[in-house]
């Protein structure tokens, strides 16, 4: 009990008080304590991710092995997990030709480079200009100049190197470093990010549009006075926020005593005054709630989140 309850409570109290005071005490060792503590937390949370990953694999793996209901989804989760892990740590791709010297036939070499860096299947004067700009001046000591665009497979990159050499240039095969491969072009990781993660994330966020419609349809009913105010202000803001609202009420701008009826004007007023006031009030309440909860945690009054009473 002492190690599981009392010691954590003492640590929470001590660290809480020190962190609170450190905001007011710039002198060492308090001054940068906040930054260090946040960084320590990030390191701990990063290592703790392993626990979560193992838990995920255990639960989803069990479902697959025991063929429980919905096991294909679990299989997809496990495959995606290992695929991303592999591309992050073991197989990266990201090969590129290093051009050291353009040789005696520079235009042909630039044409070849332009074909590599081109993205839409057609070599344009822009691509040729890019090629000349990037590779027109190899460094004086022959330092390597990299293509900004790497390719995934070693075979393809080697083929480009061979083709450049046939045109009289001097080139070697390069490989993106571990770490920069995460954001570099022509890597498997980047392919996973743009082919899977990006469309899936965008799709989930796009669901909000549909859910807002169904939630509004269901919830915005004139049940009482407050609901009516909510309904009317909601409609005014929804229409005022988009060009359609401005277009429909553009005529009011020509009549001075009616100009306040311009939907964007009403929308901005609602946003900046009643809405901002309400938001401020809620934020003050939340701020006080956070102070109260934090104080209870620091003083040890609230221990249930640590498994205490």
């Amino acid at each position: 009990m002492f190690w599981k309850r009392t010691i954590p409570a003492i640590i929470v109290a001590a660290v809480g008080v020190i962190m609170l005071l450190s905001w007011f005490i710039p002198h060492a060792p308090f001054g940068n304590l906040e930054i260090h503590a946040t960084q320590w937390y990030d390191i701990i949370a990063s290592f703790a991710m392993i626990l979560g990953a193992l838990n995920l694999l255990k639960l989803q793996g069990t479902k697959v092995v025991k063929r429980q209901k919905g096991w294909p989804y679990s299989l997809a989760a496990v495959i995606a997990f290992f695929m991303t892990l592999t591309f992050g740590f073991f197989i990266k791709g990201g090969y590129y030709p290093n051009l050291i010297d353009v040789g005696d036939n520079p235009e042909a070499v630039y044409q070849k480079i332009a074909e590599v860096i081109d993205e839409d299947g057609e070599v344009t004067p822009f691509d040729m200009g890019e090629a000349r700009m990037l590779y027109g001046n190899p460094g004086p000591s022959g330092e390597k100049i990299n293509l900004h665009k790497a390719v995934v497979s070693k075979k393809t990159a080697q083929k480009i190197v061979d083709e450049l050499e046939e045109l009289g240039a001097t080139a070697t095969l390069g490989e993106l470093n571990w770490g920069s491969h995460v954001q570099g072009t022509g890597t498997y990781y980047r392919w996973v990010f743009y082919s899977f993660f990006t469309p899936l994330s965008a799709t989930m966020f796009a669901l909000l549009a549909f859910f807002v419609a169904s939630a509004s349809y269901r919830a915005f009913k004139i049940r009482n006075a407050e609901a009516t105010v909510l309904l009317v202000s909601g409609i005014l803001i929804m229409l005022g926020r988009v060009p359609l609202g401005a277009y429909l009420t553009a005529w009011t701008q020509n009549i001075s005593w009616l100009s306040w009826l311009h939907l964007p004007t009403i929308q901005e007023w609602l946003y900046q005054y009643p809405n901002a006031a309400g938001a401020r009030a809620i934020m003050i309440g939340i701020g006080l709630g956070i102070v109260g909860t934090s104080l209870r945690v620091i003083l040890g009054i609230e221990k249930s989140f640590m498994g205490g009473d």
Binding site: P26, A45, A48, G52, L56, I284, G289
Partner: protein
């Protein structure tokens, strides 16, 4: 008279000469108004013909480190506290030829023991914490404290009871952020209370989480609750399970769980962002009773629209006091309310003073 004129002329010539042939100089002084130290005010005595100045610093190493190149004669720069630092200025002409160099005296900056710019907030902290602590101590003396009923909190037991009757599970999501957020801790505290109810009624509890540390903390909380209800046999570590850190991937996973398992009661208690409506609408579509609570002001409208009950703002943080009924917790809520009253009075006074163009009151609340 003649002598006077000659003397004046000589002095004038001397001054011009001094100015024309003045030595380049640099002065570095620690900024006394900066409580955190670090800051040094650099002043350069200009040199005729110089268009730009390169400033470098040295902390006792062999190498001079670049600071900046400027045409300004006075500027501020940062150095490390308690490290004696010397500055050098190199004057350049229009052709970037070096005209002269000068070195300053050593300067040392020191941080103060109290940041006087934050005095107003320190006083506010004392008032707020003092008020809350006072009412906690008063509550300990068995003073009865009244809290207004909150529909959402009264519905907790009803929701768990409904799940038990229908033979379906209770789903609890403690937000999507990590333990460094107070809302997550509040969510876990509420989870402890809900876990006691599910243990008592023998309802199945599922707690999907988005962070590994929250998973571990959630397990401790749920286990303690089940033990306190005398039902450790019903507890399983897999009740609290991790999906993913990513916001929308987690929302997709929770939605999938809702659609497949169809829980009868859904609790969304913690810090949420844009995924809140996705989860709440899905819960609504399966006919579950939903009780939400969050400290994110922008998500409250979505929860109000899609859920049966919503704990708004402070109600969410007060939930542990309501559910636990501990006098100390109730006392802290009372203290919070008194502080809110003080703030409202301050706001009212501020509005009055500003209306009459008296700005002194507003300045009390300005920070840096």
């Amino acid at each position: 008279m003649m002598l006077k004129r000659i003397t004046c002329l000589l002095i004038l010539l001397l001054s011009i000469g001094t100015f024309a042939f003045a030595d380049l100089a640099i002065r570095a002084e620690a900024d006394p108004s900066e409580p955190e130290g670090n800051q040094v005010i650099i002043s350069i005595l200009p040199m005729k013909g110089a268009s730009n100045y390169i400033v470098q610093k040295n902390t006792g190493e062999a190498e001079w480190l670049p600071v900046l190149e400027t045409s300004d004669l006075e500027f501020e720069t940062n150095i490390d506290n308690d490290v004696p630092t010397t500055f050098k200025v190199i004057a350049l002409d229009e052709n970037r030829s070096v005209l002269a160099e000068a070195v300053s005296k050593e300067v040392v900056t020191k941080a103060k023991w109290f940041n006087t710019r934050r005095t107003n907030r320190f006083i506010a902290l004392i008032i707020i914490c003092g008020t809350i602590l006072y009412f906690i101590s008063r509550a300990r003396q068995n003073k009865k404290i009244y809290l207004r009923p909150v529909a959402g909190l009264q519905a907790f037991e009803e929701a768990v009871g409904r799940a038990t009757e229908m033979g379906r599970s209770v789903l609890f999501v403690p937000g999507i952020m990590d333990l460094d957020q107070v809302e997550t801790i509040s969510g876990l505290i509420i989870l402890g209370h809900v876990a006691k109810m599910t243990a008592r009624y023998e309802a199945e509890l599922e707690v999907p989480v988005s962070r590994s540390l929250v998973m571990e903390s959630g397990r401790e909380t749920v286990q303690a609750s089940y033990i306190s209800e005398g039902r450790p046999d019903l507890f399983s570590a897999d009740m609290v399970h991790y999906y993913t850190d990513d916001q929308f991937a987690f929302a997709a996973a929770v939605d999938g769980q809702m659609l497949r398992k169809k829980p009868a009661a859904v609790f969304l208690q913690g810090k949420f962002y844009a995924e809140s409506l996705i989860m709440a609408e899905t819960g609504n579509s399966i006919g579950a009773i939903q009780i939400a609570g969050t400290g994110s002001p922008s998500q409250i409208p979505f929860f109000v629209t899609a859920c049966d009950y919503t704990l708004i703002g402070e109600e969410f943080f007060a939930a542990s006091a309501y559910l636990g009924d501990d006098p100390k917790l109730l006392g802290s809520i009372k203290g919070q309310d008194i502080v809110k009253g003080i703030l409202m009075a301050a706001l009212g006074l501020g509005v009055i003073f500003e209306t009459f163009n008296l700005h002194f009151f507003k300045k009390l609340f300005v920070g840096s």
